[in-house]
Amino acid sequence: MGAPAAARALPILGETRAVLAHSTAATAEPMGFFTDTTVCIGCKACEVACKEWNQLPARGDGGAHLQMSGLSYDNTLRLDGTTWRHVKFIEQFPEPYNGRWLMMSDVCKHCVQAPCLEVCPTGAIIRTEFDTVVIQSDTCNGCRDCIAACPFGVIDINHVSGTAQKCTLCYDRTSVGLEPACSKACPTDSIQFGPIAELQQRAQRRVDQLQAQGESKAQLYGADRNGPLGGLNAFFLLVDEPEAYGLPREPKMPTRNLAPSSMLSALGAVVMTVIGALTLRARRLVAVAKEKAQ
């Protein structure tokens, strides 16, 4: 996939907040997804629409021999470089005839403070005017640092291009006023696209409605702008703990470890230099003493 022209025009900055300030000041309001998992029926129309619009290859040999997971009725299993939408089937069956399926259409969260963007050493990952996060395929060199940094396991290598890839929130569609392919295809409106502020209000009303109906665990994941990563531009309505959906409770920035790890290494470096110098200096003193004795 080529890099969106407007996105490429943005300056390459690592500091998420700086880019956010730049982008929002210059352009439109933040856009994103609200995914109401309670109305998802697991049809995977979003997965197919995403693959079709973005011209992503099917898994395996293209369908002649379907790959079955053997773990679930869900055979996609995970997001990767060629699967940018994935409907998770959470099969909660403590007994054979007593249980439930939870469905969740997973996608890149387009974090407000994006870990992938923060660590990317080539500047390939940028923030667009919609506050979404896009990987420029013509800049990425496939170092995979972003894969390790993503707290949601969203990014992976596309083995066709050799670069890291993920959902672009259909930048090519949104930049001309169209809705992303996945939300357009969703038959139950489980995936809703729009301005974040509007989606948040809609999501909160839905949570209130579910809780009034007795669904006490109904909660929003990633909607809080004061929460982890400054909030997510693709946020979710869940009816169980985040871990049940394979989501981290408190996603974090990778640079939280930069200072302590660097400090410890620097301290060790100083100590080892002193130890090394002392060891060899002692040797030199002996040599000098010998020379003097001679």
Partner: protein, 323 residues
């Protein structure tokens, strides 16, 4: 494969404890090329550190080991660069690490260890190159008279101090790179950088001693000093390794498999305790130099295998986490 979290989340969590948030991520496929780079880079960095220390603080008879260390660091640097480039998804775009491909401006992020590492390797290469030119001149393999300036005190000291700093950086930054992520084990401890630094120093000294023996180069006094330095590095490495595992807390469960066995037997047993024991148990530590060096090198490689593959094997499938 054991499901750690699944639809039966409350049961799983009660049995196994709530996993770190790092368990919900995907592995970056840092496999053998990266493992080899971390190992070779550690040896290369440590070799330049040791040879620079010997140049600044050593005696005249250390010259042969200085030469060996410089060559080892330079060859290691070249091999490291090749391994890193080959590991990229698009190897011909390696320069995107240093130059912005769309503006031509320098590409540098001080808060991204991989970005700093790319520049660090370049700087290390510069100092390693300077040291190599000087050694080649000393060996009369290069007769350019213009290289005489490398022997002048300010340049010589600048080169040696740069070698110390560059060597320490290359040996240690790889662990910091791993910690600045969201992967299990790597992001759950801040001690990997220090651990890799100490391991880089111990393996580089072992490599120097081994190659020296292989070449029939025996300078008893230098060997003894280096062995003492190596014993200190190994002892500190063992202490930091214990702290590292303890600091992982419940995440240390990721080592309850083959990688844990390799950690215990390969890294601690064969790579640290056996060499320390062999040196103390023999009449003269110099008796077993080659064997001890091989064991230390094996332990250093095993450490990187354990740390990288121990995390790589944890992955998500559906809503389940496998390890």
């Amino acid at each position: 494969m054991t499901p750690l979290a699944c639809g039966l989340w409350p049961l799983a969590s009660a049995l196994q404890g709530v996993p770190s948030d790092t368990f919900f991520t995907e592995p970056p496929h840092f496999r053998w090329l990266i493992i080899l780079y971390f190992f070779v880079g550690g040896v290369s960095g440590g070799a330049l550190l040791v040879s620079s220390l010997l140049r600044l603080f050593g005696a005249p008879e250390d010259r042969a080991f200085i030469r060996l260390g410089v060559y080892l660091s330079f060859i290691g640097m070249v091999v490291s660069a090749i391994l890193l480039i080959l590991d990229l998804g698009v190897p011909l775009r390696f320069w995107h690490m240093l130059i912005q491909n769309n503006t031509g401006a320098p590409m540098f992020k001080w808060w991204s260890p991989m970005s700093v590492g790319a520049w660090g390797l370049l700087v290390f290469g510069f100092f390693s190159g300077l040291a190599t030119l000087r050694v080649l001149r000393d060996d009369r393999r290069l007769s350019w008279s213009t290289l005489e300036f490398l022997h002048r005190a300010p340049i010589s000291n600048f080169s040696a101090i740069g070698g110390i700093l560059g060597g320490l950086f290359l040996a240690g930054y790889t662990g910091v790179l791993l910690s600045v992520s969201n992967r299990p084990i790597w992001a759950d401890s801040s001690w990997i950088g220090l651990l890799f630094l100490l391991s880089g120093i111990s393996t580089s000294v072992a490599a120097l001693l081994l190659i020296a023996r292989w070449q029939g180069l025996i300078v008893a006094s230098t060997e003894e000093r280096l062995q003492r330095f190596d014993r200190i590095a190994l002892t500190l490495e063992l202490v930091v390794l214990v702290i590292f595992v303890v600091s992982l807390g419940s995440v240390a469960r990721a080592f309850f498999n083959a990688s844990g066995v390799l950690l215990l037997l390969g890294v601690v047993g064969v790579g640290i305790l056996m060499p320390l024991r062999m040196e103390r148990g023999s009449a003269s530590p110099r008796e077993n130099v080659a064997t001890v060096s091989i064991l230390v090198l094996f332990g250093g490689l095993a450490l990187r295998v354990v740390v990288l593959l121990g995390s790589e094997q944890v992955h998500v499938a559906g809503a389940q986490v496998f390890r």
